[in-house]
């Protein structure tokens, strides 16, 4: 009997060490480009955040949680990553809500312009999903968002990344750190030619099926947990077609009774100048982000104040 226990113990130890080695190898070899936003979220203390911002790169570049805390005392995090479409946002939201009980969730409405896709390109899908901790939610996300042939590449990213052994750098061995709470700071200034015409707010195209269904899932989830939602669209230099897609969120917002802050229509109020405050077509630079954060911060404080009453 003792011999069997010893053998069992040895076996378990062997496989445990092997698993550990594989997990470490996976960490070292995987592409950690732009990983900080999703990865460093887990370093926040559980149930300590007041606001969660969930969305794509527009949110990361437009909202600086540090400024929000400095000026309004609100603790927040940009749960965002590049080209994160609404289906991905849904799982990002679920993931965040596993660790946090925020007073408010701010959803990026720019996902409305991404079309009927479940993820951005494979590179962007990896940037988000590879940085999720292993959990039932991660598996659910992979099975929902990724087509069957590629699923194993997300369950075992080593399949894709093991070839990086030729390009390893010192940074690959170091832990991923960040102190911006998910924000990405751009300091450059876009060269702007002619400004796009701002279309009337009622001018909209119907929202595509996939983004709509996942937007509703996000809103339903927050409703079920009794968390107020704010829909947000940061300023961009995009054309009229894109603007129409951003406006398509209005009816849904009205249906759910959640405010939709489309900042394209608040530029003057914010003191936002499209010529100096943008880093490129879609993203704010640091000057612009300061203005957006201040404006949105004030709006949030009012929302939260009203909720308490």
């Amino acid at each position: 009997m003792k011999k069997h226990l010893w053998k069992l113990g040895k076996t378990l130890l062997f496989w445990a060490i092997l698993l550990l080695l594989l997990v470490q190898t996976n960490y070292v070899l995987r592409n950690k480009n732009l990983a900080e936003e999703v990865y460093c979220f887990y370093q926040e203390e559980p149930n300590s955040l007041d606001v969660l911002f969930v969305g794509a790169s527009h949110i990361m570049c437009g909202i600086y949680p540090d400024l929000l805390e400095q000026n309004f005392g609100l603790k927040s995090y940009d749960c965002a990553s590049s080209a994160m479409v609404l289906p991905q946002c849904y799982y990002q939201l679920l993931e965040a809500l596993r660790y946090q009980t925020p007073k408010l969730v701010v959803l990026d409405a720019s996902g409305s312009a991404f079309g009927d896709v479940k993820t951005g390109t494979a590179e962007y899908a990896h940037i988000q999903l590879d940085n999720f901790r292993f959990s039932a939610n991660k598996i659910a996300a992979i099975y929902d968002l990724i087509e069957p042939e590629s699923r194993k590449e997300y369950l075992f990213p080593l399949i894709v990344f093991h070839t990086r052994w030729k390009e390893l750098k010192c940074q690959d061995l170091e832990p991923i750190v960040s102190d911006t709470r998910g924000a990405v700071v751009y300091t450059k200034q876009a060269v702007v030619g002619e400004l796009p015409t701002l279309i009337p707010r009622e001018d909209r195209t119907p929202l595509a099926e996939v983004p709509e269904s996942y937007l509703r899932k996000c809103l339903d989830e927050c409703r079920a947990r009794d968390i107020p939602v704010l829909l947000l669209c940061t300023p961009t230099l995009y054309d009229e077609q894109t603007q129409r897609m951003y406006n398509s969120v209005d009816p849904i917002a009205a249906e759910y009774g959640v405010p939709y802050l489309n900042l394209h229509y608040s530029l003057d109020e914010m003191g936002f100048d499209l010529r100096t405050d943008m880093a490129d077509e879609g993203h704010c630079n640091d000057k612009g982000a300061a203005k957006v954060t201040a404006y949105v911060g004030a709006y949030i404080m009012e929302m939260l104040g009203n909720n308490e009453n």
Partner: protein
């Protein structure tokens, strides 16, 4: 299902778990069910041919005592099916070269493993006829022997007498044996994914368009192919044998440090050994001892000359058959005849063994490399092109399919394979040596091997899917 795929790994785990979870009496049924599933993964329609073979062989076993005609009929059915499905297109294409002949070329596809299970069938019925084995009354058990998934795609070709009892008897789980088996399978993965598939990236472009490369590069490609095909085939064998070892089933060996042979006949006693012994027992001996051969020998008179003539004829038959078995194309037949010629020559001319052993080994290896040029080329014209390119000097300006880091990995991994074979030639068994190491060292070795396969293995979307070389047979 390719052995080095996640799907197969899952399948193998399922096999092992199910095998040891079931009661001993049912274990062979589990193996049969899995083998049928494995086979039908390629397509339900191919199962029909396997079924025909199975039925013919089962009936033959039961009724062969009625007369030799039963054996002959069954052989005709099985070998006939193989001949038609695999070689009809080739035969017709060549017949069409004759004037006034224009037969539509059939588009048959030979089912998975047909070359192997047909040979297993032949081996079984001939052994029953020769009273070396008792006929198997249970067709499902015979089905397991024929379609057993570790050996159906690439062999080894085991004899019914040695394999069948092991298949039908349920074995107990043995911890040490399981470790040995898994380590052997891991080594197989290393050979296949790190060595063979990597070298394939270098070999394939050069054999596809030799005109773009200079003599040195072509020579490197031929040498690399020798390593590639060995690592590929032996790797597959190691995975199959390793898995079977865990199950308590010992498959016959196919390789014994072949590139260290001192002569071509010796090479063929160390390379694809189960095929060699199959042809020896079921073609060579029958030809030599056949009635018409006896008549021929009587005609010749002088006993020594008669024996030599008989041997030469039998060797010619066997080596032509070996060439044909490897593929339905002229260059395979030419390759078979090349080796047939070398072996007949070594029979007729007693080469004085005056060369020191290392030079004998080198000479043999060079002869083998030449054979590979014929074997690997798409056709004889391309083979000739390659031989011509060997004489070309100067900078070709072409890139080798592997960059420097990959080449280094290939060289180091090949060196490890070399050490493995050197141990074999010295009579040691590397698996036993590893098992005898102290535990921490053993574990470190395994971890290094696993990580090497995971990191350096040629798999995943960055590489094209590579398939086993002998898979098409």
């Amino acid at each position: 299902m390719i052995f080095t795929s996640l799907k197969f790994l899952t399948f193998a785990v399922l096999t092992l778990v199910g095998y040891f979870a079931l009661p001993k009496k049912l274990r062979w049924i589990w193996l049969t069910a899995l083998s049928v599933y494995f086979y039908l993964c390629v397509g339900l329609k191919y199962g029909v041919f396997l079924l025909v073979s199975l039925l013919s062989v089962w009936l033959c076993g039961l009724y062969v005592k009625k007369g030799r005609w039963v054996l002959v009929l069954t052989l005709l059915v099985n070998l006939g099916l193989l001949a038609v499905l695999k070689y009809a297109a080739f035969a017709v294409t060549n017949l069409n070269r004759l004037p006034f002949v224009a037969i539509p070329v059939p588009e048959f596809v030979a089912p998975l493993g047909m070359s192997f299970y047909t040979f297993l069938s032949v081996s079984y019925i001939m052994d029953v006829y020769r009273e070396l084995s008792e006929p198997q009354k249970n067709p499902l058990k015979l089905l397991l022997y024929l379609s057993f998934f570790p050996h159906i795609t690439q062999g080894p070709i085991d004899r019914y007498e040695t394999l069948a009892p092991q298949l039908f008897e349920g074995h107990s789980f043995d911890y040490a044996r399981c470790a040995v088996g898994l380590r052997r399978a891991l080594w197989g993965f290393f050979e296949k994914l790190v060595i063979a598939d990597r070298l394939g990236l270098l070999v394939d472009p050069i054999f596809a368009a030799p005109g773009n490369y200079n003599g040195m590069e072509v020579l490197i490609a031929i040498f690399a192919y020798a390593i590639q095909i060995y690592a590929d085939f032996a790797g597959y064998m190691d995975i199959a044998c390793g898995l079977c070892e865990v199950l308590g089933i010992r498959l016959t060996e196919n390789f014994d440090a072949p590139y260290f042979s001192a002569s071509v006949p010796e090479f063929w006693r160390r390379w694809h050994m189960s095929l060699g012994s199959f042809f020896r027992d079921y073609l060579f001996y029958p030809v030599l001892r056949s009635g018409w051969m006896r008549k021929l020998k009587k005609k010749v008179g002088d006993r020594k000359k008669a024996n030599k003539l008989a041997t030469v004829i039998a060797l010619a038959v066997v080596w032509t058959a070996t060439g044909i078995w490897h593929g339905s194309a002229w260059h395979y037949i030419a390759w078979g005849m090349y080796y047939g010629g070398l072996i007949i020559a070594s029979e007729l001319i007693q080469f004085k063994r005056h060369l020191p052993k290392p030079l004998q080994v080198l000479r043999t290896f060079l002869l083998v490399l030449f054979g590979y040029v014929i074997f690997r080329s798409d056709n004889l014209a391309r083979a000739w092109e390659i031989l011509v390119q060997l004489t070309r000097f100067g900078d070709s300006g072409a890139n080798l399919g592997l960059d420097t880091p990959d080449l280094i990995v290939a060289c180091v991994a090949t060196a490890i394979l070399l050490v493995h074979d050197i141990l074999r030639i010295r009579g040691k068994r590397p698996g036993e040596l590893v098992a005898a190491l102290p535990l921490p060292l053993r574990w470190v070795l395994v971890y290094v091997c696993v990580l090497s396969v995971v990191i350096f293995g040629v798999y995943g979307p960055e590489y094209n899917a590579a398939s086993f070389i002998y898979f098409a047979f």
